[in-house]
């Protein structure tokens, strides 16, 4: 623990910390471009120069200098001021200074730092160098003349995304950052380089020329594209969400977000359900709320009522629907749209118990039927981190590219009961073994995987290595609220009246009764319904979501739902009146109180403790894993399917179509 002085302030930093970190600990701001907490140290921009005693009589790059005992660091001396001004001047020599037409304007490190540390004047009168644009795919737009060659994007692609497709070619004055042969970067995390790029060289293609940062209203909420629960900020102007960027949450997404999280938002203003519809003579016709409610109230359900939750809904919506179903005299609830019926008697047995952050510590990992890269990209990045620390990864299932080295054990589930000796040995020696079960294995392999808890000793003091990775943002919340029938969807199909809460993945043909679709897009579901009630998307309501590790998180409303659409809970509240089964709340706060009363764990944000118990399920394993549930990462729900950006990503990155770049 070196002790050193920064501008006379004494600080103690952990062993291995850099001088830059020591300066931060002392509350000093050190300008930087290439240094990034989450990437390896490059030390090539020289913006972080400080004066260090003892040492050579010249400024030193603080980001690459280890902090040592008795060092004295100065960040305000004339030498430092001069050095910063010099570096700024150098960096700006070849920078185009086209801020007025640059999307980064207003949130650009180069702008900010040149105002704070620059000279305000350049002595350079020669021609600037120019670099041609590089194609990087549908998400990242490049204006390479602006690049200051900090190499953050290269390091991100290599270290975090695990897709070594960005690099620096040529040398010296001619050095250029590009994707390999200017092909689209095939990473589902490529959008992060836009945030990382300290200048406007890499900007967001779908967001180009949309807005200036100071025009935007920022709302903090939770992403619903997968079950990770990425913490996001939605930037909106007027009634439209224009941008989605990640917030830092070390426990969940660190500071990353997948491309789907970032860019599905343009689907929020397309193909929306914005008025109620009622089926008349076999055709869905626009109706008023009253007409729609009346049509539902007219159904003679005789207490046979069910609710099917879609993948994106919040706990409040599910609770409101559950309360209505209950007050109509039923308890038929299900959220596992595709018909899965795994045992939910112990929620710990279907939870990601190691936690997302805990994954980094694992030293032996077995993936069972999961394409983690698509099912939970930001858990996949944690597995990469674990590998960096020395973890070994094995997998059961069809081989797929996960961005790291995996030893594939075939796709026959029976291998779970009979692991090869070498694998068993590695797990026996592991201090923190981990099993991750994906959707493809839950049906036939849940019991066998649970049996590994015992044989591989997965649950030990302070460590629970049994994990299930869900793909639906609504899943854990739904299970906590009881959206799980013993036999799955099959138990509900006989209901005379069924509410579908944004459920687009169910097989509607199995349902015989009266169908009510409540949701915002309904691309696959609404057409099958008898009544369609327009609801709010995740951006248009305040809600509670529980992520795959059982973390309760709350998001705020960013914009209002379009047209006649309403927040879902208020739809059920209003409908309950018409159906003569009035629900006992008339505000979101009231609903939440009721909900907390029933499921107290939802009251507090943070990890829910499910305890640990293993349900009694048959542990024999048989059957093979034919494929993974997600066939197309970019089109997993109704919002993405309505999003032109996601459609383009799907066509280009999944289906390999090529798009000629229109000349700009």
């Amino acid at each position: 623990m070196p002790k050193l002085k920064v501008d006379g302030i004494e600080v103690e930093v952990p062993q291995g910390a850099t001088v830059l970190q020591a300066c931060e600990a002392a509350g000093k701001e050190i300008p930087r471009f290439c240094y990034h907490e989450r990437l390896s140290i490059a030390g090539n921009c020289r913006m972080c120069l400080v004066e260090v005693k003892p040492g050579p009589p010249k400024p030193q790059a603080s980001c690459a200098l280890p902090a040592a005992d008795n060092q004295e660091v100065f960040t305000t001396t004339p030498m430092v001021k001069n050095a910063r001004e010099g570096i700024m001047e150098f960096l700006l020599i070849n920078h185009p200074l086209d801020c007025p037409i640059c999307d980064q304007g207003g949130e650009c490190d180069l702008q900010d730092q040149s105002v704070a540390y620059g000279r305000g004047q350049s002595r350079y009168a020669e021609n600037k160098r120019a670099v041609t644009e590089k194609y990087m795919g549908p998400i990242v737009k490049t204006i390479m003349t602006r690049c200051i060659q900090c190499t953050r994007c290269i390091r991100f692609a290599e270290e975090v995304a695990g897709v070594e497709e960005i690099g620096a070619i040529y040398r010296g004055e001619n050095m250029q950052i590009t994707s390999y042969l200017e092909e689209a970067v095939t990473s589902e995390l490529s959008g992060n380089v836009v945030d990382l790029c300290p200048v406007g060289a890499l900007t967001s293609k779908p967001y180009q020329y949309e807005a200036r940062p100071w025009e935007l209203r920022r709302t903090l909420t939770i992403d619903v594209m997968d079950a990770v629960g990425t913490n996001i900020r939605l930037d909106s102007r007027g009634r439209q969400v224009l941008r989605c960027v990640p917030r830092i949450n070390e426990d969940v997404n660190e500071e990353w977000a997948s491309d789907k999280t970032r860019h599905a938002i343009d689907g929020l203003v397309r193909r929306r359900l914005d008025k109620p519809y009622v089926r008349v003579n076999g055709k869905l016709l626009p109706a008023t709320w009253d007409e729609a409610f009346a049509a539902i109230a007219a159904v003679d359900h005789g207490g046979s009522v069910a609710a099917v939750a879609g993948d994106l809904v919040d706990c409040e919506t599910m609770y409101a629907a559950k309360a209505l179903v209950r007050s109509l005299g039923s308890s038929l609830l299900e959220g596992r749209q595709t018909g899965m019926a795994y045992d939910t008697s112990s929620l710990a047995a279907v939870n990601f118990n190691t936690t997302i952050a805990g994954t980094e510590e694992a030293d032996a990992i077995l993936l069972v039927g999961t394409n983690l890269r698509w099912e939970a990209p930001l858990v996949n990045t944690r597995v990469r981190k674990a590998i960096k620390r020395g973890a070994k990864v094995f997998a059961v299932g069809p081989e797929t590219e996960l961005t790291y080295k995996v030893e594939w054990l075939g796709h026959d589930l029976s291998v779970l009961g009979d692991l090869p000796d070498t694998v068993a040995k590695i797990f026996a020696d592991a201090g923190k073994p981990m099993v991750i079960v994906g959707g493809a294995a839950l049906k036939d392999g849940h019991g066998a995987a649970l049996k590994l808890v015992e044989t591989l000793n997965l649950v030990r003091n302070g460590w629970n290595g049994f994990n299930v990775v869900h793909m639906a943002a609504a899943r854990m919340g739904g299970l906590m609220l009881g959206y799980a029938a013993k036999g799955g969807i099959a138990d509900l199909t006989h209901a005379k009246l069924t509410f579908f809460l944004g459920a687009d993945e169910v097989d509607y043909s199995r349902f015989g009764g009266f169908k009510v679709y409540v949701g915002h897009h309904g691309d696959a579901g609404a057409a099958h319904a008898d009544v369609v009630l327009p609801g709010a998307s995740y951006a248009e309501k305040s809600g509670t979501w529980v992520n795959l590790e059982g973390r309760v998180q709350r998001g705020e409303r960013a914009v209002f739902p379009p047209g006649d659409a309403r927040e879902d809970w208020s739809i059920f509240r209003a409908l309950s009146d018409v159906m003569g089964a009035r629900l006992p709340f008339d505000s979101l706060a009231g609903l939440r109180e009721e909900m907390y009363g029933e499921v107290p764990a939802l009251r507090h944000e943070g990890l829910v403790s499910f305890g640990w118990s293993v349900p009694a399920i048959d542990g024999s394993a048989s059957g093979t894993i034919g494929g993974y549930p997600i066939k197309d990462f970019y089109l997993t729900n109704a919002i993405c399917r309505a999003s032109p950006t996601m459609q383009r990503c799907s066509a280009e990155l999944v289906h390999g179509e090529t798009f000629a770049e229109a000349a700009e």
């Binding site: 497709e165 690099g167 040529y170 001619n174």
Partner: protein
């Protein structure tokens, strides 16, 4: 980049070079090279492999050789490294040609020492012999590139042709070298005025007592200091 090389159309190079593989002899050399590095450090073989590949392309096309993209990819696969990483190396080093060159790649140094010693004459000789900067002569014999210091400044001006340096050039001697090459001869590499390595022209100018036998300079040195 002022004289950016012209990289041939991708489909064309893929068709021609997509099936590139080591020749039997080079396979042997490749194994030898790989064996020099510890396991897990195969990436260290990037440069020697690229060089070997360029030479093989050269042999196959009867030129100095170049690195078509599929060949770079072949090298990357051979050492288990992402394409981008090897591509970066290939573009970084000027010794790797990213576009086809002629039988002889004439690299004239134009940096200050060579320039002061007459590299302009060397370039003029090349030009008059029909060589064009950045291009290959129609007979496919010569490609001319002007490069920065090649570390032979003591024997300036100089030109590097494939693996050999020709030094102490002037206009006529440059023409002579080029003519000889064109005829298929192999002029002797090194100084064109018979200098040995970079020994001083016209015999030693210092430490003369050392020329024939070992000489102990220490007493003189001490005296000098005492004085």
């Amino acid at each position: 980049m002022a004289d950016a090389v012209h990289i041939p159309d991708e489909a064309e190079t893929r068709a021609r070079w997509g099936a590139f593989a080591w020749s039997e002899e080079n396979q042997r050399k490749a194994n030898e090279i790989l064996a020099r590095y510890p396991k897990g450090r195969e990436q260290s073989a990037s440069i020697p492999f690229l060089d070997l590949a360029q030479r093989q392309v050269g042999a196959e096309t009867h030129t100095q050789g170049w690195l078509p993209v599929p060949v770079i990819e072949f090298v990357a696969r051979a050492i288990g490294v992402p394409y981008m990483r090897v591509y970066e190396v290939a573009t970084f080093y000027t010794m790797f040609n990213l576009a086809p060159v002629g039988r002889y790649h004439v690299q004239v140094c134009g940096t200050t020492p060579c320039m002061l010693q007459g590299s302009d004459d060397v370039l003029a000789a090349c030009r008059n012999r029909g060589l064009v900067k950045g291009g290959t002569t129609p007979d496919g014999l010569f490609t001319l590139t002007e490069v920065e210091c090649l570390g032979t400044c003591a024997n300036a001006p100089m030109v590097q042709i494939n693996d050999d340096n020709y030094e102490d050039l002037d206009y006529d001697r440059t023409i002579a070298v080029l003519e000889a090459l064109a005829k298929g001869a192999h002029p002797e590499a090194g100084s064109t005025i018979g200098r040995r390595a970079s020994c001083p022209e016209g015999g030693p100018t210092s430490l003369k007592a050392m020329v024939d036998a070992n000489h102990d300079y220490r007493p003189e040195w001490e005296n000098a200091h005492a004085g």
